[in-house]
Amino acid sequence: MTRKKINLAYIANDSARKATFKKRKKGLLKKMSELSTLCAVQTCAIIYSPYDPEPEVWPSPLGVQSVIARFKSMPEAEQSRKMVNQESFLGQRIIKSEEQLKKQQIENREREMTQVMYRSLVGDQGVQNMGVADLNDLEWLVDKSVEEIDERIKSLREQIVPPPQVMTAGMSNSHVNSTDGGKYGTEATKNRAETEMDAYTPNQQSSMNQKVGFGLRNEDMAVYQNPQWLEELLRSNDQNMGGQLGKNEDIPFAFNGNNSSLWSFP
């Protein structure tokens, strides 16, 4: 099979047209035969062509007679219900294809806008250049995303047992090193439900606890058991600010035009 893209129009070239007719007619009749057999249904075809004064019929003159007779025996309404000709058939195809096209356009539009949205998060200057229609769409998409994020946050929080203070208590008393981190992790998994709030001392330890608290709310238990993560986190805490894991600092929303990188820090 050549798989050439066909131009849906009458083939002007006589020999090409005749060749196409032979091939396609053969294919059509084969498809009819398959349909009949696979689905155990009666079918027939009558083809008038300029190449033959007699019509070509399938499956056979008798077969055709029988199918036509069955057809004619049906009430008129039933005969015409699913009857189509070129015009109506093409009309149906056009409508179906237009619907698919619209769907695909909408999908593509959302994909594009999603990209724009993510680029804009990182400080891409796109927003300055967008027209109102696009801005509206972007806003819609951002709203939708925030909604989804909220829902997801909510569902995650519901899954998580009330803050495992036992962890923070443990942390505040031990030196931070990888082995402790590891131990810490396993203890966490065992003692989640327990509360030892009494042991918790807010003051100097608060920042560290807060940081740990953050990490603990992550749903992925594997993280807890990873001492390296903890070590790195706490080490970086020491290096930078003794202060909190500022939420806002993690994604400095670089929209002032100076900062184009998400991760640029002073």
Binding site: L8, Y10, L38, Y48, K82, N85, G91, R111, Q115, L138
Partner: protein, 229 residues
């Protein structure tokens, strides 16, 4: 596409049979329609369904072909009537137009599908680079909270920009037909300032569920100048 090789014998499962019938019947009519268009032949096809309904395709129409066949008058009725000629000519012109329109739509559809595929690839590539582009369902709580902050900041900026434009434009509506971003232009079914999405909010594909995995430990490599991954 299926492309399974099946034996040519009655399909055992009823559902399968029904589905196959639908698809193949549709494909059969499509082939018949193409044959008529390409080769200028006249044809009638009758197909009974498993449910004993009947589908038929005919060009110029089923009835006339059946009559012609049954009366064994294999010569087309002599075109005496001018009216008949007019009808035929009109119908042929219609069919030509329909075929042209169909071709146009199919081409557009193919182009959009290609665009969709490349957008999809781009998104996949981005997701490997930027954790915040991962599907929301795959982000950890901490990440989500950060992302939300950024999103709300973005929303503020968008609103600011929108207001800015609105106040410049005043009441003028001509400024609202600004070109869409990234060459996404021809949406003639969408009103200008209403935006593409808002008029058809139900049409969206929720792209959120994807298969990319974001190892959660990445979140703890954030910031502090450590750089991303």
């Amino acid at each position: 596409m299926g492309r399974q090789k099946i034996p040519i014998a009655k399909i055992p499962k009823k559902n399968h049979l029904q589905v196959t019938f639908s698809k193949r019947r549709s494909g059969l009519f499509k082939k018949a329609s193409e044959l008529c268009t390409l080769c200028g032949v006249e044809i009638a096809i009758l197909v009974f369904s498993p449910a004993e309904k009947v589908f038929s395709f005919g060009h110029p129409d089923v009835e006339s072909i059946l009559d012609r066949y049954l009366t064994r008058n294999h010569l087309p009725a002599p075109d005496q009537s001018g009216a008949q000629q007019l009808v035929d000519a009109h119908r042929n012109a219609n069919v030509r137009d329909l075929n042209a329109r169909l071709t146009q739509v199919l081409n557009q559809l193919e182009a959009e599908k290609k665009l969709g595929e490349s957008l999809h690839q781009m998104r996949k590539a981005s997701q490997k680079q930027f954790w915040w582009e991962a599907p929301i369902n795959e982000l950890g709580l901490h990440e989500l909270e950060q992302l939300k902050v950024s999103m709300e900041e973005l929303k503020k900026n968008v609103a600011k920009q929108t207001n800015k434009i609105s106040s410049i434009a005043g009441a003028s509506s001509t400024l609202y037909s600004s070109p869409a971003l990234y060459g996404v232009n021809q949406y003639d079914h969408i009103g200008g300032s209403a935006g593409f999405f808002e008029s058809k909010p139900t049409g969206f594909v929720n792209n959120i569920a994807s298969t990319s995995t974001m190892p959660n430990h990445h979140v703890y490599n954030l910031g502090y100048g450590h750089g991303l991954f």
